[in-house]
Protein backbone atom coordinates (compact mmCIF):
# COMPACT_ATOMS: atom_id res chain seq x y z
CA UNK A 1 0.00 0.00 0.00
CA UNK A 2 1.35 3.43 -0.89
CA UNK A 3 2.28 5.90 1.84
CA UNK A 4 -0.39 8.32 0.61
CA UNK A 5 -3.14 5.70 0.74
CA UNK A 6 -2.00 4.61 4.18
CA UNK A 7 -2.19 8.19 5.47
CA UNK A 8 -5.64 8.58 3.92
CA UNK A 9 -6.92 5.45 5.64
CA UNK A 10 -5.41 6.59 8.93
CA UNK A 11 -7.20 9.90 8.63
CA UNK A 12 -10.48 8.18 7.83
CA UNK A 13 -10.08 5.95 10.87
CA UNK A 14 -9.39 8.94 13.04
CA UNK A 15 -12.47 10.82 11.78
CA UNK A 16 -14.56 7.70 12.39
CA UNK A 17 -13.29 7.24 15.95
CA UNK A 18 -13.62 10.88 16.90
CA UNK A 19 -16.82 11.81 15.08
CA UNK A 20 -18.61 8.55 14.39
CA UNK A 21 -19.22 6.21 11.48
CA UNK A 22 -21.65 8.81 10.10
CA UNK A 23 -20.69 12.43 10.61
CA UNK A 24 -22.45 15.45 9.16
CA UNK A 25 -20.64 18.72 9.72
CA UNK A 26 -22.92 21.74 9.31
CA UNK A 27 -24.56 20.25 6.19
CA UNK A 28 -26.98 22.18 4.04
CA UNK A 29 -28.68 20.79 0.98
CA UNK A 30 -30.67 23.19 -1.14
CA UNK A 31 -32.54 22.31 -4.30
CA UNK A 32 -32.99 24.92 -6.98
CA UNK A 33 -36.34 26.15 -5.63
CA UNK A 34 -37.52 27.05 -2.16
CA UNK A 35 -35.91 26.75 1.24
CA UNK A 36 -33.16 24.18 1.83
CA UNK A 37 -34.26 20.57 2.41
CA UNK A 38 -31.52 20.28 5.03
CA UNK A 39 -30.31 23.36 6.81
CA UNK A 40 -27.02 23.35 8.69
CA UNK A 41 -27.23 19.90 10.29
CA UNK A 42 -24.43 18.57 12.46
CA UNK A 43 -24.82 14.94 13.45
CA UNK A 44 -22.68 12.09 14.77
CA UNK A 45 -23.74 8.46 14.66
CA UNK A 46 -21.27 6.05 16.20
CA UNK A 47 -20.40 2.49 15.22
CA UNK A 48 -22.91 -0.05 16.48
CA UNK A 49 -25.68 2.45 17.20
CA UNK A 50 -29.37 1.93 16.39
CA UNK A 51 -30.89 5.27 15.42
CA UNK A 52 -34.38 6.29 14.41
CA UNK A 53 -34.80 9.39 12.29
CA UNK A 54 -38.33 10.72 12.56
CA UNK A 55 -40.18 13.71 11.23
CA UNK A 56 -43.10 14.65 9.04
CA UNK A 57 -43.05 14.88 5.24
CA UNK A 58 -40.69 17.58 4.02
CA UNK A 59 -38.61 17.45 7.19
CA UNK A 60 -35.53 16.41 5.24
CA UNK A 61 -35.29 12.72 6.25
CA UNK A 62 -35.21 11.37 2.72
CA UNK A 63 -32.70 13.99 1.62
CA UNK A 64 -30.52 12.89 4.53
CA UNK A 65 -30.63 9.26 3.37
CA UNK A 66 -29.85 10.31 -0.20
CA UNK A 67 -26.87 12.32 1.04
CA UNK A 68 -25.59 9.31 2.99
CA UNK A 69 -25.94 7.14 -0.13
CA UNK A 70 -23.99 9.76 -2.09
CA UNK A 71 -26.96 10.04 -4.44
CA UNK A 72 -26.84 13.75 -3.65
CA UNK A 73 -23.98 15.98 -2.59
CA UNK A 74 -24.25 18.66 0.07
CA UNK A 75 -24.55 22.28 -1.01
CA UNK A 76 -22.33 23.24 1.91
CA UNK A 77 -20.73 21.43 4.84
CA UNK A 78 -19.29 17.92 4.80
CA UNK A 79 -20.79 14.45 4.97
CA UNK A 80 -18.48 11.72 6.23
CA UNK A 81 -19.43 8.06 6.10
CA UNK A 82 -16.89 5.61 7.50
CA UNK A 83 -14.48 8.52 7.67
CA UNK A 84 -14.73 9.24 3.94
CA UNK A 85 -15.66 12.74 2.85
CA UNK A 86 -18.39 11.92 0.33
CA UNK A 87 -17.83 15.12 -1.67
CA UNK A 88 -14.32 13.87 -2.45
CA UNK A 89 -15.43 10.50 -3.85
CA UNK A 90 -15.09 10.32 -7.64
CA UNK A 91 -18.10 9.12 -9.65
CA UNK A 92 -16.45 5.83 -10.57
CA UNK A 93 -15.65 5.12 -6.91
CA UNK A 94 -19.25 5.56 -5.72
CA UNK A 95 -20.17 1.87 -6.28
CA UNK A 96 -17.22 0.75 -4.16
CA UNK A 97 -18.29 3.16 -1.41
CA UNK A 98 -21.91 1.94 -1.51
CA UNK A 99 -20.79 -1.62 -0.91
CA UNK A 100 -20.20 -0.59 2.72
CA UNK A 101 -23.89 0.22 3.05
CA UNK A 102 -26.94 -1.97 3.08
CA UNK A 103 -30.10 -0.20 1.95
CA UNK A 104 -33.73 -1.11 2.46
CA UNK A 105 -36.59 0.91 0.98
CA UNK A 106 -40.29 1.21 1.71
CA UNK A 107 -41.16 -0.21 -1.71
CA UNK A 108 -38.64 -3.11 -1.39
CA UNK A 109 -37.08 -2.43 -4.82
CA UNK A 110 -36.56 -6.05 -5.76
CA UNK A 111 -35.80 -7.36 -9.22
CA UNK A 112 -39.21 -8.85 -9.88
CA UNK A 113 -38.16 -10.94 -12.85
CA UNK A 114 -35.80 -12.96 -10.66
CA UNK A 115 -36.44 -15.34 -7.81
CA UNK A 116 -35.58 -14.81 -4.13
CA UNK A 117 -32.19 -16.52 -4.39
CA UNK A 118 -31.18 -14.49 -7.45
CA UNK A 119 -32.22 -11.21 -5.83
CA UNK A 120 -29.94 -11.84 -2.88
CA UNK A 121 -27.17 -13.40 -4.96
CA UNK A 122 -27.26 -10.34 -7.20
CA UNK A 123 -25.75 -8.19 -4.43
CA UNK A 124 -22.87 -10.66 -4.22
CA UNK A 125 -22.38 -10.87 -7.96
CA UNK A 126 -22.09 -7.10 -8.07
CA UNK A 127 -19.07 -7.28 -5.76
CA UNK A 128 -17.66 -10.19 -7.78
CA UNK A 129 -17.98 -12.81 -5.04
CA UNK A 130 -16.98 -16.26 -6.34
CA UNK A 131 -19.92 -18.56 -7.12
CA UNK A 132 -18.80 -21.05 -4.50
CA UNK A 133 -19.11 -18.40 -1.77
CA UNK A 134 -22.42 -17.13 -3.16
CA UNK A 135 -23.84 -20.65 -2.90
CA UNK A 136 -22.85 -20.67 0.77
CA UNK A 137 -23.70 -17.09 1.78
CA UNK A 138 -27.13 -16.67 0.18
CA UNK A 139 -28.85 -19.62 1.91
CA UNK A 140 -27.25 -18.54 5.19
CA UNK A 141 -28.58 -14.98 5.00
CA UNK A 142 -31.99 -16.21 3.79
CA UNK A 143 -32.10 -18.43 6.88
CA UNK A 144 -31.36 -15.37 9.05
CA UNK A 145 -34.41 -13.56 7.69
CA UNK A 146 -36.55 -16.70 7.84
CA UNK A 147 -36.88 -17.33 4.12
CA UNK A 148 -34.67 -20.37 3.68
CA UNK A 149 -37.57 -22.41 2.33
CA UNK A 150 -38.64 -19.84 -0.25
CA UNK A 151 -35.42 -19.32 -2.15
CA UNK A 152 -36.95 -20.50 -5.42
CA UNK A 153 -40.07 -18.34 -5.18
CA UNK A 154 -40.66 -15.39 -7.48
CA UNK A 155 -40.67 -12.16 -5.50
CA UNK A 156 -44.13 -11.36 -6.86
CA UNK A 157 -45.47 -14.48 -5.16
CA UNK A 158 -44.38 -13.23 -1.72
CA UNK A 159 -46.27 -11.15 0.84
CA UNK A 160 -45.12 -7.58 1.59
CA UNK A 161 -43.38 -8.73 4.78
CA UNK A 162 -41.56 -11.49 2.92
CA UNK A 163 -40.50 -9.12 0.15
CA UNK A 164 -39.05 -6.75 2.72
CA UNK A 165 -37.16 -9.65 4.26
CA UNK A 166 -35.68 -10.45 0.85
CA UNK A 167 -34.62 -6.81 0.57
CA UNK A 168 -33.11 -7.07 4.03
CA UNK A 169 -31.26 -10.26 3.12
CA UNK A 170 -29.91 -8.54 0.00
CA UNK A 171 -28.78 -5.59 2.11
CA UNK A 172 -27.03 -7.86 4.60
CA UNK A 173 -25.40 -10.48 2.43
CA UNK A 174 -22.26 -8.40 1.86
CA UNK A 175 -21.88 -7.73 5.61
CA UNK A 176 -22.24 -3.94 5.43
CA UNK A 177 -20.99 -1.74 8.25
CA UNK A 178 -24.10 0.43 8.04
CA UNK A 179 -27.71 -0.46 7.27
CA UNK A 180 -29.92 2.37 6.06
CA UNK A 181 -33.63 1.65 6.14
CA UNK A 182 -35.95 4.23 4.57
CA UNK A 183 -39.48 3.62 5.91
CA UNK A 184 -38.93 -0.16 5.98
CA UNK A 185 -42.34 -0.81 7.53
CA UNK A 186 -44.24 1.80 5.50
CA UNK A 187 -46.01 -0.82 3.36
CA UNK A 188 -46.42 -3.51 6.02
CA UNK A 189 -49.09 -4.54 8.51
CA UNK A 190 -48.24 -4.28 12.25
CA UNK A 191 -47.30 -7.96 12.56
CA UNK A 192 -44.85 -7.86 9.65
CA UNK A 193 -43.57 -4.46 10.76
CA UNK A 194 -42.58 -5.88 14.12
CA UNK A 195 -40.91 -8.87 12.51
CA UNK A 196 -38.81 -6.58 10.35
CA UNK A 197 -37.90 -4.42 13.33
CA UNK A 198 -36.88 -7.49 15.33
CA UNK A 199 -34.62 -8.52 12.49
CA UNK A 200 -33.09 -5.04 12.36
CA UNK A 201 -32.45 -5.15 16.09
CA UNK A 202 -30.85 -8.57 15.76
CA UNK A 203 -28.63 -7.27 12.95
CA UNK A 204 -27.67 -4.30 15.13
CA UNK A 205 -26.76 -6.60 17.99
CA UNK A 206 -24.30 -8.34 15.66
CA UNK A 207 -22.46 -5.03 15.31
CA UNK A 208 -24.01 -3.34 12.26
CA UNK A 209 -24.90 0.33 12.65
CA UNK A 210 -28.60 0.69 11.82
CA UNK A 211 -30.29 3.93 10.77
CA UNK A 212 -34.05 3.72 10.34
CA UNK A 213 -36.16 6.51 8.89
CA UNK A 214 -39.74 5.97 9.98
CA UNK A 215 -43.18 7.39 10.62
CA UNK A 216 -44.19 4.50 12.84
CA UNK A 217 -44.74 6.09 16.25
CA UNK A 218 -45.59 2.83 18.01
CA UNK A 219 -42.38 1.13 16.94
CA UNK A 220 -40.19 4.11 17.85
CA UNK A 221 -41.81 4.54 21.23
CA UNK A 222 -41.63 0.85 22.07
CA UNK A 223 -38.05 0.17 21.02
CA UNK A 224 -36.43 2.87 23.16
CA UNK A 225 -33.54 3.63 20.84
CA UNK A 226 -31.82 6.88 19.97
CA UNK A 227 -34.35 9.12 18.21
CA UNK A 228 -33.39 12.08 16.04
CA UNK A 229 -36.37 14.24 15.15
CA UNK A 230 -36.24 16.53 12.15
CA UNK A 231 -38.45 19.42 11.15
CA UNK A 232 -38.12 21.69 8.13
CA UNK A 233 -34.55 20.60 7.48
CA UNK A 234 -33.16 20.92 11.00
CA UNK A 235 -32.74 18.56 13.93
CA UNK A 236 -35.22 19.55 16.61
CA UNK A 237 -34.33 16.85 19.12
CA UNK A 238 -31.81 14.06 19.57
CA UNK A 239 -32.47 11.74 22.50
CA UNK A 240 -31.05 8.46 23.72
CA UNK A 241 -33.93 6.07 24.42
CA UNK A 242 -36.15 8.73 22.92
CA UNK A 243 -39.74 8.78 21.83
CA UNK A 244 -41.57 10.05 18.77
CA UNK A 245 -43.19 13.15 20.28
CA UNK A 246 -46.37 14.60 18.77
CA UNK A 247 -45.29 18.14 19.58
CA UNK A 248 -42.07 17.75 17.62
CA UNK A 249 -43.99 16.78 14.51
CA UNK A 250 -46.33 19.74 14.70
Amino acid sequence: MSKRKELKLQKQKQIMEENGIIYLDNVTKAYSKGSPAINGITLNIYRGEFVFIVGDSGSGKSTLIRLLLRELTATSGSVYVMGQDLAQIKHRKIPTFRRNLGVVFQDFRLLNDRNVYENVAFAQRVVETPNREIRHNVPAVLATVGLAGKYKAKTTQLSGGEQQRVALARALVNNPSILLADEPTGNLDPHNSWEIMSLLEEINQRGTTVVVVTHNREIVNTMKKRVIAMKKGVIVSDMEEGIYDDNEED
Binding site: P95, T96, R98, R99, L110, N174
Partner: protein, 301 residues
Amino acid sequence: MIMKKINTFFYTLLQGILNIFRNKWFSLASVATISACLFLLGVFFAVVANAQHIVKTIQEEICLTVFFTEGTSTERMAEVQGIIDARPEVLRTQFHGADEEWEWFRENHLHADADDFWENPLEGMDNISVYMKDISQQPALVTFIQSIPDVDHLNYSPSLANTFSGVNGLISYVFVAIIVILLVVSIFLISNTVTIGISVRKEEINIMKYIGAKDFFVRAPFVLEGVLIGLVGAAIPLVIIYNGYNSLLKYVVDRFAMLSSLLDFLSVEEIFRFLTPVSLLVGVGIGFFGSMSTVKKHLDV
Protein backbone atom coordinates in the same frame (compact mmCIF):
# COMPACT_ATOMS: atom_id res chain seq x y z
CA MET B 1 -8.75 -12.01 -9.60
CA ILE B 2 -8.86 -13.47 -13.14
CA MET B 3 -11.39 -16.04 -11.96
CA LYS B 4 -13.57 -13.21 -10.62
CA LYS B 5 -13.40 -11.42 -13.97
CA ILE B 6 -14.29 -14.63 -15.84
CA ASN B 7 -17.23 -15.19 -13.47
CA THR B 8 -18.42 -11.61 -14.06
CA PHE B 9 -18.00 -11.95 -17.83
CA PHE B 10 -20.11 -15.09 -18.01
CA TYR B 11 -22.66 -13.65 -15.61
CA THR B 12 -23.15 -10.51 -17.73
CA LEU B 13 -23.27 -12.62 -20.90
CA LEU B 14 -25.94 -14.85 -19.41
CA GLN B 15 -27.89 -11.85 -18.09
CA GLY B 16 -27.80 -10.21 -21.53
CA ILE B 17 -29.33 -13.31 -23.10
CA LEU B 18 -31.83 -13.81 -20.26
CA ASN B 19 -32.88 -10.15 -20.47
CA ILE B 20 -34.13 -10.80 -24.01
CA PHE B 21 -36.52 -13.45 -22.73
CA ARG B 22 -37.41 -11.58 -19.53
CA ASN B 23 -38.57 -8.65 -21.63
CA LYS B 24 -39.87 -10.68 -24.54
CA TRP B 25 -42.42 -8.11 -25.75
CA PHE B 26 -39.87 -5.35 -25.85
CA SER B 27 -37.40 -7.70 -27.53
CA LEU B 28 -40.00 -8.69 -30.12
CA ALA B 29 -40.96 -5.06 -30.78
CA SER B 30 -37.31 -4.10 -31.20
CA VAL B 31 -36.53 -7.02 -33.50
CA ALA B 32 -39.66 -6.26 -35.56
CA THR B 33 -38.77 -2.57 -35.89
CA ILE B 34 -35.18 -3.29 -36.89
CA SER B 35 -36.30 -6.00 -39.33
CA ALA B 36 -38.97 -3.79 -40.93
CA CYS B 37 -36.58 -0.86 -41.41
CA LEU B 38 -33.75 -2.97 -42.77
CA PHE B 39 -36.16 -4.91 -45.00
CA LEU B 40 -37.30 -1.66 -46.62
CA LEU B 41 -33.70 -0.56 -46.95
CA GLY B 42 -32.72 -3.88 -48.53
CA VAL B 43 -35.59 -3.99 -51.01
CA PHE B 44 -34.99 -0.41 -52.07
CA PHE B 45 -31.28 -1.06 -52.44
CA ALA B 46 -31.90 -4.14 -54.62
CA VAL B 47 -34.25 -2.19 -56.91
CA VAL B 48 -32.00 0.86 -57.29
CA ALA B 49 -28.80 -1.17 -57.66
CA ASN B 50 -30.45 -3.10 -60.50
CA ALA B 51 -31.71 0.07 -62.18
CA GLN B 52 -28.25 1.56 -61.99
CA HIS B 53 -26.69 -1.61 -63.28
CA ILE B 54 -29.09 -1.78 -66.24
CA VAL B 55 -28.47 1.86 -67.20
CA LYS B 56 -24.72 1.27 -66.94
CA THR B 57 -24.92 -1.85 -69.11
CA ILE B 58 -26.89 0.02 -71.78
CA GLN B 59 -24.57 3.01 -71.82
CA GLU B 60 -21.58 0.72 -72.25
CA GLU B 61 -23.11 -0.35 -75.55
CA ILE B 62 -23.25 3.21 -76.86
CA CYS B 63 -20.18 4.01 -78.92
CA LEU B 64 -18.64 6.86 -80.87
CA THR B 65 -17.10 6.14 -84.25
CA VAL B 66 -13.74 7.53 -85.35
CA PHE B 67 -13.06 8.06 -89.08
CA PHE B 68 -9.66 8.77 -90.65
CA THR B 69 -8.48 11.20 -93.32
CA GLU B 70 -8.02 9.67 -96.76
CA GLY B 71 -4.79 7.85 -97.30
CA THR B 72 -4.12 7.01 -93.60
CA SER B 73 -2.16 3.79 -93.41
CA THR B 74 -3.44 0.73 -91.57
CA GLU B 75 -0.41 0.94 -89.22
CA ARG B 76 -1.28 4.52 -88.30
CA MET B 77 -4.92 3.50 -87.67
CA ALA B 78 -3.70 0.74 -85.31
CA GLU B 79 -1.47 3.31 -83.59
CA VAL B 80 -4.43 5.69 -83.09
CA GLN B 81 -6.51 2.80 -81.74
CA GLY B 82 -3.73 2.14 -79.20
CA ILE B 83 -3.69 5.81 -78.14
CA ILE B 84 -7.48 5.81 -77.62
CA ASP B 85 -7.38 2.46 -75.81
CA ALA B 86 -4.89 3.87 -73.33
CA ARG B 87 -7.41 6.50 -72.13
CA PRO B 88 -8.82 5.65 -68.66
CA GLU B 89 -12.44 6.44 -69.60
CA VAL B 90 -12.35 3.98 -72.52
CA LEU B 91 -13.80 0.56 -71.88
CA ARG B 92 -12.80 -1.03 -75.21
CA THR B 93 -12.30 -0.23 -78.91
CA GLN B 94 -12.99 -2.16 -82.04
CA PHE B 95 -11.43 -1.59 -85.49
CA HIS B 96 -13.65 -2.00 -88.55
CA GLY B 97 -11.63 -2.23 -91.77
CA ALA B 98 -13.55 -1.14 -94.93
CA ASP B 99 -12.73 -4.37 -96.80
CA GLU B 100 -13.80 -6.68 -93.96
CA GLU B 101 -16.97 -4.70 -93.40
CA TRP B 102 -17.91 -4.84 -97.08
CA GLU B 103 -17.18 -8.57 -97.18
CA TRP B 104 -19.41 -9.14 -94.18
CA PHE B 105 -22.20 -7.02 -95.68
CA ARG B 106 -22.04 -8.82 -99.05
CA GLU B 107 -22.26 -12.22 -97.43
CA ASN B 108 -24.97 -11.44 -94.96
CA HIS B 109 -27.22 -9.03 -96.82
CA LEU B 110 -26.62 -9.01 -100.57
CA HIS B 111 -26.34 -12.77 -101.18
CA ALA B 112 -27.01 -13.36 -104.93
CA ASP B 113 -26.97 -9.62 -105.76
CA ALA B 114 -23.40 -9.33 -104.49
CA ASP B 115 -21.98 -9.83 -107.95
CA ASP B 116 -23.56 -6.55 -109.15
CA PHE B 117 -21.01 -4.61 -107.11
CA TRP B 118 -17.49 -4.51 -108.50
CA GLU B 119 -16.12 -1.83 -106.21
CA ASN B 120 -16.19 -1.52 -102.43
CA PRO B 121 -18.60 1.34 -101.74
CA LEU B 122 -17.17 1.53 -98.22
CA GLU B 123 -13.71 2.38 -99.52
CA GLY B 124 -12.00 4.86 -97.22
CA MET B 125 -14.57 4.24 -94.43
CA ASP B 126 -12.21 2.37 -92.05
CA ASN B 127 -13.24 3.29 -88.53
CA ILE B 128 -12.84 2.55 -84.83
CA SER B 129 -15.79 2.07 -82.46
CA VAL B 130 -15.00 3.45 -79.03
CA TYR B 131 -17.01 2.18 -76.03
CA MET B 132 -16.82 4.17 -72.81
CA LYS B 133 -16.94 3.21 -69.14
CA ASP B 134 -18.81 6.37 -68.25
CA ILE B 135 -20.68 8.19 -70.96
CA SER B 136 -20.69 11.48 -69.05
CA GLN B 137 -17.02 11.87 -70.01
CA GLN B 138 -17.82 11.79 -73.71
CA PRO B 139 -17.20 15.53 -74.45
CA ALA B 140 -13.64 15.38 -73.07
CA LEU B 141 -12.86 12.23 -75.03
CA VAL B 142 -14.31 13.71 -78.23
CA THR B 143 -12.06 16.77 -77.88
CA PHE B 144 -9.06 14.52 -77.30
CA ILE B 145 -9.73 12.25 -80.27
CA GLN B 146 -10.39 15.21 -82.56
CA SER B 147 -6.93 16.55 -81.68
CA ILE B 148 -5.20 13.34 -82.86
CA PRO B 149 -3.52 13.85 -86.27
CA ASP B 150 -5.07 11.78 -89.12
CA VAL B 151 -8.48 11.66 -87.43
CA ASP B 152 -10.98 13.11 -89.91
CA HIS B 153 -14.20 13.20 -87.96
CA LEU B 154 -16.30 11.42 -85.29
CA ASN B 155 -19.86 10.17 -85.29
CA TYR B 156 -21.52 10.44 -81.92
CA SER B 157 -24.68 11.65 -80.25
CA PRO B 158 -24.15 14.35 -77.64
CA SER B 159 -27.85 14.34 -76.69
CA LEU B 160 -27.85 10.58 -76.04
CA ALA B 161 -24.78 10.94 -73.85
CA ASN B 162 -26.38 13.83 -71.98
CA THR B 163 -29.61 11.89 -71.46
CA PHE B 164 -27.82 8.84 -70.15
CA SER B 165 -25.46 10.67 -67.85
CA GLY B 166 -28.47 12.66 -66.63
CA VAL B 167 -30.48 9.51 -65.88
CA ASN B 168 -27.49 7.92 -64.25
CA GLY B 169 -26.82 10.99 -62.13
CA LEU B 170 -30.49 11.23 -61.14
CA ILE B 171 -30.60 7.59 -60.06
CA SER B 172 -27.43 8.09 -58.02
CA TYR B 173 -28.80 11.19 -56.28
CA VAL B 174 -32.19 9.64 -55.60
CA PHE B 175 -30.51 6.46 -54.42
CA VAL B 176 -28.23 8.25 -51.97
CA ALA B 177 -31.06 10.53 -50.74
CA ILE B 178 -33.51 7.69 -50.12
CA ILE B 179 -30.88 5.47 -48.51
CA VAL B 180 -29.94 8.33 -46.18
CA ILE B 181 -33.59 9.04 -45.34
CA LEU B 182 -34.29 5.35 -44.72
CA LEU B 183 -31.18 5.05 -42.57
CA VAL B 184 -32.10 8.11 -40.51
CA VAL B 185 -35.69 6.87 -40.07
CA SER B 186 -34.39 3.40 -39.15
CA ILE B 187 -31.93 4.77 -36.64
CA PHE B 188 -34.60 6.98 -35.10
CA LEU B 189 -37.22 4.24 -34.89
CA ILE B 190 -34.86 1.58 -33.62
CA SER B 191 -33.13 3.73 -31.02
CA ASN B 192 -36.54 4.94 -29.87
CA THR B 193 -37.69 1.38 -29.34
CA VAL B 194 -34.49 0.53 -27.50
CA THR B 195 -34.83 3.71 -25.40
CA ILE B 196 -38.41 2.94 -24.39
CA GLY B 197 -37.50 -0.64 -23.58
CA ILE B 198 -34.66 0.37 -21.32
CA SER B 199 -36.47 3.31 -19.73
CA VAL B 200 -39.10 0.87 -18.52
CA ARG B 201 -36.29 -0.82 -16.63
CA LYS B 202 -34.95 2.37 -15.08
CA GLU B 203 -35.89 1.02 -11.65
CA GLU B 204 -33.77 -2.07 -12.22
CA ILE B 205 -30.78 0.10 -13.09
CA ASN B 206 -31.36 2.19 -9.95
CA ILE B 207 -31.44 -0.91 -7.76
CA MET B 208 -28.20 -2.14 -9.25
CA LYS B 209 -26.58 1.22 -8.57
CA TYR B 210 -27.80 1.36 -4.96
CA ILE B 211 -26.36 -2.07 -4.32
CA GLY B 212 -22.98 -0.87 -5.52
CA ALA B 213 -22.82 -2.15 -9.10
CA LYS B 214 -20.19 -0.46 -11.22
CA ASP B 215 -21.32 1.16 -14.47
CA PHE B 216 -19.84 -1.67 -16.53
CA PHE B 217 -21.76 -4.28 -14.57
CA VAL B 218 -25.04 -2.45 -15.13
CA ARG B 219 -24.38 -1.54 -18.74
CA ALA B 220 -22.88 -4.76 -20.11
CA PRO B 221 -26.03 -6.94 -20.09
CA PHE B 222 -28.11 -4.13 -21.63
CA VAL B 223 -25.55 -3.49 -24.35
CA LEU B 224 -25.22 -7.18 -25.09
CA GLU B 225 -28.99 -7.42 -25.25
CA GLY B 226 -29.09 -4.48 -27.68
CA VAL B 227 -26.41 -6.03 -29.89
CA LEU B 228 -28.15 -9.43 -29.98
CA ILE B 229 -31.50 -7.82 -30.81
CA GLY B 230 -29.79 -5.78 -33.55
CA LEU B 231 -28.13 -8.89 -34.94
CA VAL B 232 -31.34 -10.92 -35.07
CA GLY B 233 -33.26 -7.90 -36.41
CA ALA B 234 -30.73 -7.53 -39.24
CA ALA B 235 -30.50 -11.24 -40.04
CA ILE B 236 -34.25 -11.74 -40.55
CA PRO B 237 -34.68 -9.29 -43.49
CA LEU B 238 -31.42 -10.54 -45.03
CA VAL B 239 -32.76 -14.09 -45.12
CA ILE B 240 -36.13 -12.92 -46.48
CA ILE B 241 -34.57 -10.71 -49.16
CA TYR B 242 -32.06 -13.40 -50.16
CA ASN B 243 -34.77 -15.97 -50.79
CA GLY B 244 -37.23 -13.46 -52.22
CA TYR B 245 -34.70 -11.97 -54.64
CA ASN B 246 -33.58 -15.39 -55.85
CA SER B 247 -37.16 -16.52 -56.42
CA LEU B 248 -38.07 -13.30 -58.21
CA LEU B 249 -35.01 -13.52 -60.45
CA LYS B 250 -35.86 -17.12 -61.32
CA TYR B 251 -39.48 -16.15 -62.00
CA VAL B 252 -38.46 -13.29 -64.33
CA VAL B 253 -36.01 -15.47 -66.23
CA ASP B 254 -38.56 -18.28 -66.60
CA ARG B 255 -41.60 -16.18 -67.42
CA PHE B 256 -40.14 -13.20 -69.23
CA ALA B 257 -37.24 -14.65 -71.19
CA MET B 258 -37.40 -11.68 -73.59
CA LEU B 259 -36.99 -9.18 -70.77
CA SER B 260 -34.12 -11.02 -69.14
CA SER B 261 -32.25 -11.26 -72.46
CA LEU B 262 -32.53 -7.48 -72.88
CA LEU B 263 -31.84 -6.47 -69.31
CA ASP B 264 -28.96 -7.69 -67.23
CA PHE B 265 -29.99 -8.14 -63.58
CA LEU B 266 -27.52 -8.26 -60.68
CA SER B 267 -27.01 -11.64 -59.05
CA VAL B 268 -28.05 -12.11 -55.43
CA GLU B 269 -24.36 -12.38 -54.47
CA GLU B 270 -23.63 -8.97 -55.98
CA ILE B 271 -26.54 -7.44 -54.04
CA PHE B 272 -25.51 -9.09 -50.78
CA ARG B 273 -21.87 -8.05 -51.08
CA PHE B 274 -23.09 -4.58 -50.04
CA LEU B 275 -26.33 -5.35 -48.25
CA THR B 276 -25.00 -7.90 -45.71
CA PRO B 277 -22.31 -5.71 -44.11
CA VAL B 278 -24.51 -2.59 -44.19
CA SER B 279 -27.53 -4.32 -42.62
CA LEU B 280 -25.47 -6.05 -39.94
CA LEU B 281 -23.55 -2.88 -39.19
CA VAL B 282 -26.73 -0.82 -38.91
CA GLY B 283 -28.51 -3.45 -36.78
CA VAL B 284 -25.63 -4.17 -34.44
CA GLY B 285 -24.47 -0.55 -34.39
CA ILE B 286 -27.87 0.80 -33.43
CA GLY B 287 -28.33 -1.96 -30.86
CA PHE B 288 -24.95 -1.14 -29.36
CA PHE B 289 -25.04 2.65 -29.34
CA GLY B 290 -28.78 2.87 -28.62
CA SER B 291 -28.55 0.73 -25.49
CA MET B 292 -25.21 2.26 -24.46
CA SER B 293 -26.47 5.85 -24.55
CA THR B 294 -29.87 5.03 -23.02
CA VAL B 295 -28.36 3.18 -20.07
CA LYS B 296 -25.86 6.01 -19.61
CA LYS B 297 -28.76 8.44 -19.05
CA HIS B 298 -29.94 6.35 -16.10
CA LEU B 299 -26.55 5.57 -14.60
CA ASP B 300 -26.13 8.84 -12.78
CA VAL B 301 -27.73 7.66 -9.53
